[in-house]
């Protein structure tokens, strides 16, 4: 079910403002791809364009192509709702639904897709997803409790469980650890390693060590100047990016000699 993504000459606009310019890359299936770069360089915007979540903001549009395994995400016939069912997303701050129990939170996506589900079927999905998100042992005795009662790291893993419960082709993560403590962060990073065998994972992070730890390939985004659109400076295997990058500004950013 994991799929690769081909992006070619993608421009992203918010109204008249061009936020991201001319990005082309191939994201491999069953691998972790990380995006790094300074704030406001468009990496989150680009990530959101991969499941059309940027369209939530009025006036947002793209030019160019995003092709997931032969299917153009921005084709005329394509429904963004359908796209988001295939390409899951985890956000910066954990956002379980406050009125739902842990159990219902995990099933939220499945309930949207298929109205009727047998109890045993639902139980299976919940157990499988929570195990997949390394949360099962911590919550199995309180599945009926509200998801909001968990710690921040647990909430984030609950959100990951919710995202993988619908068995998406791709999992997008927008700075998933930036609101978490180091212990929870390490739990999520371990989880990303495990999820890699089943999913294509794309992660945006501000933490360069994290990018180095979890990803197979890394893309570095930057702004040409303030007010200019962000663009992809370099896209390479993580090893190469952190050992000897092709681009000078990549090296400057990674080694902390930026700007």
């Amino acid at each position: 079910m994991a799929k690769s993504i081909d992006v070619s000459n993608l421009d992203i606009y918010y109204g008249d403002f061009k936020a991201v310019e001319d990005v082309s890359m191939t994201i491999r299936a069953r691998s972790v791809t990380a995006f790094i770069g300074p704030s406001g360089c468009g990496k989150s915007t680009f990530l959101r364009s991969l499941n059309r979540m940027h369209e939530v903001i009025p006036g947002a549009r793209v030019e160019g192509k995003v092709v997931v395994e032969g299917q153009d995400l921005y084709g005329d016939q394509v429904d963004p709702v359908e796209v988001r069912r295939q390409i899951g997303m985890v956000f910066q701050r954990p956002n379980p639904f406050p009125t739902m129990s842990i159990y219902e939170n995990v099933l939220a996506g499945n309930r949207l897709n298929a109205k009727k589900m047998k109890k045993s079927e639902a139980d299976d999905i919940v157990e499988r997803s929570l195990k997949g998100a390394n949360l099962w042992n911590e919550v199995k005795d309180r599945l009926g409790k509200p998801g909001m009662g968990l710690s921040g790291g647990q909430q984030q893993r609950l959100c990951i469980a919710r995202a993988i419960a619908v068995e998406p082709q791709v999992l997008l993560m927008d700075e998933p650890c930036s609101a978490l403590d180091p212990i929870s962060t390490s739990a999520i990073e371990d989880l990303i390693h495990e999820l890699k065998s089943d999913y294509t994972i794309v992660i945006v992070t501000h933490n360069m060590q994290q990018a180095a730890r979890v990803s197979d390939e890394t893309g570095f985004f930057n702004l040409k100047a303030a007010g200019q659109p962000g663009h992809l400076v370099e896209f390479n295997s993580t090893q190469k990016m952190f050992a000897n990058p092709d681009n000078e500004s990549t090296e400057a950013y990674i080694s902390g000699r930026f700007g």
Binding site: V56, G88, F97, L112, P146, M148, V166
Partner: protein, 310 residues
């Protein structure tokens, strides 16, 4: 090293004290005013318990006199909310989530403007415009849905029925419910809305998953406030309704229950002696009804409160 200043800076503390006193005084004043109203209504209303049929429009005792009015008040307000609540929630959703921003603002202003129309004007509109037009449709209701007790008829041609009064009340309650719901809906955290959308929810599914649960208690408060407005509205009902003081669920005939507020407004100019006490007693009943409605609203709203973890 200089010593750390630990003495109280006197000026700002005095400001705090003054503000605290003002705020407390305001709170106490409200309570005193409310208690004053309650005491007045009780004291002045009590003599009505011994009122003779002559002062009670031919009814044997005060309970028989007040009951049809209570019935009319509740029926009119209930019908009004039945119409206004879904409409308001829909409108609020359009403004907060569906309409493009360029359109949403003017719609919001227009709705707010409805609240600025005086109730006398609504009354006139009800008699002159709405009543006759609804009157014709009442004939249709009688012919086609006459088997229901609500539309038994005979249909009133002038349309001055409790249903018309309810429609007017609904229009009057609409802006307040819409305004509050709109605010509540637009405060739904983006975080949760995005969570739903990212799972592949359509806009309506997203609204059901996040906006409604989040805004539940606010919606109930809004409806209760609207209900309060409908219960207490006097002028529009007094003008529109052709009241005879019966208890009936027949909504389209010219024989209608009156409401407490309208009855007071219409009866007070000619009332004297014990009749005034009778009207005041009915006012006390209305006071209690609104009190209970508000109290229930608070209770439900508090129970639906979402715990906003961390």
């Amino acid at each position: 090293m200089t010593a750390v200043q630990l003495e109280r800076p006197t000026t700002s503390r005095r400001g705090d004290a003054v503000f605290k006193a003002l705020a407390t005084a305001a709170a106490v004043l409200i309570l005193v005013a409310l208690a004053g109203v309650a005491v007045f209504l009780t004291l002045e209303g009590m003599p009505a318990l011994q009122a003779e049929p002559g002062a009670l429009g031919g009814k044997d005792n005060i309970v028989l006199y007040v009951w049809p009015l209570v019935f009319g008040t509740l029926l009119a307000a209930f019908l009004a909310i039945l119409m206004a609540a879904p409409l308001s929630i829909g409108l609020a959703l359009v403004i907060s989530h569906y309409a493009p921003r360029r359109l949403a603002k003017p719609i919001g202003y227009l709705i707010d403007l409805l609240a600025a129309v005086p109730s006398v004007v609504y009354g006139l509109w009800g008699i002159e415009f709405l009543g006759p037009r609804l009157g014709t449709s009442y004939g249709w209701l009688e012919d086609n849905l006459g088997f229901l007790p609500f539309f038994e008829g005979p249909a009133s041609g002038s349309g001055r029925t409790i249903l018309t009064a309810s429609v007017v009340l609904a229009v009057m309650a609409l802006p307040i419910i819409t305004a509050i719901c709109r605010e509540i809906f637009s405060q739904t955290p983006t975080l949760h809305q995005e969570a739903a959308l990212a799972l592949g929810a359509t806009r309506w599914e997203m609204i059901r998953m996040t906006v409604f649960p989040y805004g539940r208690s606010g919606m109930i408060s809004a409806v209760m406030l609207g209900l309060g407005r409908a219960l207490g509205e006097t002028m529009a009902v007094a003008m529109v309704l052709s009241a005879t003081g019966v208890v009936t669920f027949n909504l389209i005939s010219s024989v209608n229950p009156s409401t407490i507020a309208a009855n007071i407004a219409l009866g007070f100019p000619e009332a004297s002696g014990i009749k005034v006490n009778v009207l005041i007693f009915s006012g006390l009943v209305l006071f209690l009804i609104t009190f209970v409605v508000n109290f229930l609203g608070r209770l439900i709203a508090a129970r639906g409160q979402i715990k906003e973890g961390r």
